[in-house]
Symmetry: D2
Subunit: 299 residues, 4 copies
């Protein structure tokens, strides 16, 4: 990592040393917000941003994301977590308490098409993607030069159907070695095994080059061309073991017309893929996404 | 039809009495534009608008739409068509020569949801849809009041799976009686028989309430909700005998999020359906659409 | 008002008899959410939807909108308001406590172009705009037939620069007589006097036919054409005494190109105006808008 | 320039060695298309793409862009230009005959914000921007490393109000030395003198960081924030001596809301600026733009 980005990250950590984030889901009932906000106030925490949603106020599931500023958070964090257990039990909560200063470590997987990787690297270099891109793994050497030029470790791990097991063993070892928090498939054109996916639930973000659920699977631009659609799209989603069926995080589209051939669809599509994936990754690292019943709530 | 609209149509016909439109497709080769434009010039016609497209300049198919102003067009039209036959033969053209002053006659089919019908009626009343809405046919009586309020004949023709044949006999008879040029299915929730469709090739415009090819078939909003998409859409297409597989004319989408339930998806969707269908109908009546290999070229 | 809509409104009121909404703004500090949510919980109210925003957690202004379901709200409302006074004082709040079952009464002002009026009437008829359109006032008689056809009182009040005072006296009298909560200027092409505006702060919603602050004032489509813009827009805002300078509620745009003349810009623009105004009115009647320093927070 | 791009350009030139482009404007009258297409056909040229537009068929101005494939174009070009003179005279045409294989030479001017420059470099590297980026000129050294890393000459030319004359002398000398066809101001934060602009009519493309004509001049994001707009935009235009008043080539917008502060408006805006400028440059190098009365026709 170069000095500028290291410095950016240090500044971010210092600026957010007292910033915490609480993600909660539980059966909806009166009193949840009162309990949580009273709890935070008892630690003198100021709520900076709060979003909530209920699938149904009567018998549904309640979700909330609260970002707060709490003096001396590091010192208090342990005690807060312990104390919060009481509320967790009372409301049967699933919850996640994160420190904003903990900058997540990412691994990016890529194949030969580099546009999504380049977009992430760029947003990262300009300080708009506050993550630690710890390594890039590819089954091709195309990205090697640009990645290493930014002082990011690059690993060439050959992969295809026949050597999947072996490749994933290497990949998983690297993820552990670098203590990776999440994986981005930035146009990585290999299918991951169920084992790999299950070890990383809601931690692998993929970009699919179509407006899902249209054109699930291979060659979506070719099929979009054949169908004569007037809009093409891209979809970012968490990877599950059902191909292209994981929880959708973000989608966008662009208008096309009869002049466009497969090549120009791909060019137009690249721009959509880049921005859709960048948004999804941003929301993931800011802990804005809750997965519920194979759908996402994005706060 | 009320007096205002009758008057609008008369004004339009007078204004466009010398306006013609030529739609041509043929194997691409040098000289096509030269031949057509020379032909038009020989009748002192001024080209007002011209759009062309070739699937491939080498061995592909060439398409052109030319709108022109020709003094005394009505008198010359017969002769022009005859003379044009020579060029047609030379270039193996498929072609269509229309008079803009010939205002097309439309039949609108609708069921219980009226938003698409209302949009068409509205655009029509404001003079933005230069067609003659000759009748409305419905398998429900919901639309009766509003349609008859505009002095448009309304026919209640009960229809469902069991009485399809009988219903379609009545419907086809009405289409003939009113000399209908094209049919708009403005959320008509019945499937048409192959016979009905084959009698009206590229003359039946449907609005499907999804971003095709996603959610082909019934209950698209419910399925969009279940899949957790972040955008919903609507598609207007010509009806063929493959359900929701006909040539796409126009599509559009709108952004949704986790707050939206099936009802709000439907509300948001109604706005998209209205505008997508209105645009498709407008392009159809202006002879802007060529169908080629189950896709549309929209000039 | 016709029977169907009356019925819709009654159903809505019954369904929302226990639904309340609290809009609060105050200097930001820890404990605000805790205090409000604790207060609501003490009345056994369940928070259905909550949105908040702070201009700056350090020394800024805090805003929150809370929609809640509270058993027997009507009986408790008076006491709740009284009790809430304590919190109001503690945090120096400005606040507004509304009952969702109280359906707001609207007056629509219109001139000769009816598209915005028709959109509102339509949304209203389909139950998507839960307001009571109590009367329509116009300086032309164009809208009379359609308005009275829906059993809405229509008042023709001639208005122009020279008789503004007299016209506004009549208009204000009507607003009082019908106990109007807010006014929609649906392409009402008259300027209102400072007196009229001051009597209705943040209660008059206008649609301006440009993407403000571009093309403030008259003839925006003509000026957009002259400038050769590639997008045209519309803006809905609250009316203040600075022409077209009031707080912006909503904006949208549509793409245009060199083919478009002033007429087609107007046609395209009508569609934008319709949807932008409809959204602004919807948010207003749902108490989603807070005005702060000539800007809007839309929750 | 690196070997890959050099190779891309050579491939492009080879592929387009017989591709020509004709841009014509003249008073509208019958026979223009016939004359031009007959002329092209006489050289056995096949029209690949053709777009036309008339401000008014009666007494207006007619514009056409024709892209054609002509065997042995290089050998015939001189003669074709000579022969075309006859038609030019007959119809009082202004015209421009270009060879697609002639790849235009560009100079990019930039200051400290690099996002627009990076976008252009990226599109260029991926072969989507078929131009020869001959040099980059900046009044800061920020871009030096990235530009020289791509083997593009970088010139640091200090510039500010006080030394404008001196700076422009150096810049104009460089433009001549490198035989530059057009200049891109990719967030170059200096005003150019009338002399500089007049020497390069319709050859300087600027990106302005607002939806013109809103927020002409300095600090548009700050002013957009103060006004509370709900959409922000960017505008690419040819530079004239009226600040931000030159012919608009392309515009686009993105939605924002009350959460956005000036910083986030700038972040969102960067994405719009990048794509708007890239499209404008692409259309310029493909000879798709005709300037007429301070507006653009983009074919």
């Amino acid at each position: 990592m170069n000095a500028y980005i290291k410095n950016q990250i240090e500044l971010f950590k210092e600026k957010n040393k007292n910033r915490g984030c609480l993600l909660v889901s539980c059966p909806d009932q009166p009193g949840i917000v009162a309990a949580i906000s009273q709890f935070l106030f008892s630690y003198n925490a100021n709520i900076i941003e709060s979003s909530q949603y209920s699938t149904n106020p009567e018998g549904g599931t309640f979700f909330i994301r609260i970002e707060f500023e709490c003096p001396n958070l590091k010192e208090k964090a342990k005690e807060m977590e312990n104390q919060f257990a009481e509320i967790v039990e009372q409301f049967s909560m699933e919850w996640n308490f994160t420190h904003v200063y903990h900058v997540k470590k990412a691994a990016i997987f890529v194949s030969k098409e580099l546009h999504c990787l380049l977009e992430l690297l760029w947003e990262w270099q300009s300080g708009d993607l506050m993550t630690n891109i710890a390594l890039v793994i590819s089954n091709h050497e195309t990205a090697k030069e640009v990645v290493e030029g930014l002082n990011i470790p690059f690993y060439y791990v050959p992969a295809n159907k026949d050597i999947r097991g072996q490749a994933e063993t290497t990949q998983l070892k690297l993820l552990k070695e670098y203590e990776i928090d999440f994986v981005v498939l930035a146009r990585y054109m290999q299918i991951l095994s169920p084992k790999f996916v299950e070890e990383n639930p809601n931690k692998i973000i993929n970009i699919h080059h179509s407006f899902l659920p249209a054109f699930v699977g291979a060659r979506p631009y070719e099929r979009a061309f054949d169908r004569g659609v007037k809009l093409i799209g891209a979809t970012s989603h968490y990877v599950t073991n059902d191909l292209d069926e994981g929880p959708i995080i973000e989608q966008d589209i662009s208008r096309v017309d009869h002049h466009d051939n497969v090549d120009s669809l791909k060019k137009i599509g690249r721009r959509i893929e880049r921005s859709v994936l960048a948004r999804a990754v941003k929301w993931h690292i800011e802990d804005r996404i809750i997965v519920h019943q194979n759908k996402t709530i994005v706060f």
